[in-house]
């Protein structure tokens, strides 16, 4: 039973990711794209958690911990890219 619910959750999460991907595609400025890619990354953490639960990965929480620790690097470098090195 729980497997079907997890797969439904994966589909819903995919919808959210798709919305963010459309915004990242049409976003008028690079900062809109950066915000959208931030959201894509959060949805991706959800993906990792759900797939890990579905397939019983041992190291699930280690992966989540590392993902949350390193995820903001993407946002920082997108912000840096937007200003061209100016702070």
């Amino acid at each position: 039973m729980s497997d079907i619910v997890l797969e439904t959750a994966l589909i819903l999460l995919g919808v959210g990711m798709l919305l963010a991907a459309i915004r990242a595609y049409i976003g008028p400025s690079i900062n809109d794209r950066a915000v959208a890619s931030d959201l894509i990354f959060f949805a991706f953490i959800g993906f990792i958690a759900l797939i890990g639960l579905r397939t019983n990965i041992e190291a699930l929480f280690d992966i989540i911990l590392i993902a949350t620790l390193l995820g903001f690097m993407a946002a920082l470098s997108m912000a840096r890219l937007g200003t061209g090195g100016r702070r």
Partner: protein, 117 residues
């Protein structure tokens, strides 16, 4: 057995709360007019969304070591996502992304140089 079932269901509920937050933030990316409001909308999923998905996964797969890792992950997520969204909003302002017309006061505008954008 009884407690196990309750924890599974509570975990699923927490996961669905997190997913709903992420989908709502995705809708907000289209519904809101400017960069700063969109960053606020993404802020909901950065804090509550990821945190409740992690809590849900913890409830479905509980052990004391996992509890420690999940707490660390939630704290790290909250601190780093705050830094990330601050950097994006700040670079947006430096880049000349003006706030939408509904913004009624803009104190930061006084500190801009005219030849800036």
């Amino acid at each position: 057995m009884e407690l196990d079932n309750i924890m599974q269901i509570a975990g699923l509920v927490a996961i669905f709360i997190g997913i709903a937050t992420i989908v709502v933030a995705g809708i907000g990316l289209f519904n809101l007019p400017d960069l700063y409001l969109r960053a606020s909308a993404v802020g909901t999923s950065a804090g509550l969304g990821v945190a409740s998905i992690v809590v849900g996964a913890l409830l479905m797969d509980f052990s004391w070591l996992n509890l420690l890792k999940a707490l660390l992950a939630i704290v790290a997520q909250m601190l780093t996502s705050a830094v990330g969204s601050m950097a994006i909003a700040r670079s947006g302002y430096l880049n000349g992304a003006l706030p939408a017309a509904v913004t009624h006061t803009d104190d930061l505008m006084k500190t801009r140089r005219d030849n800036f954008s």
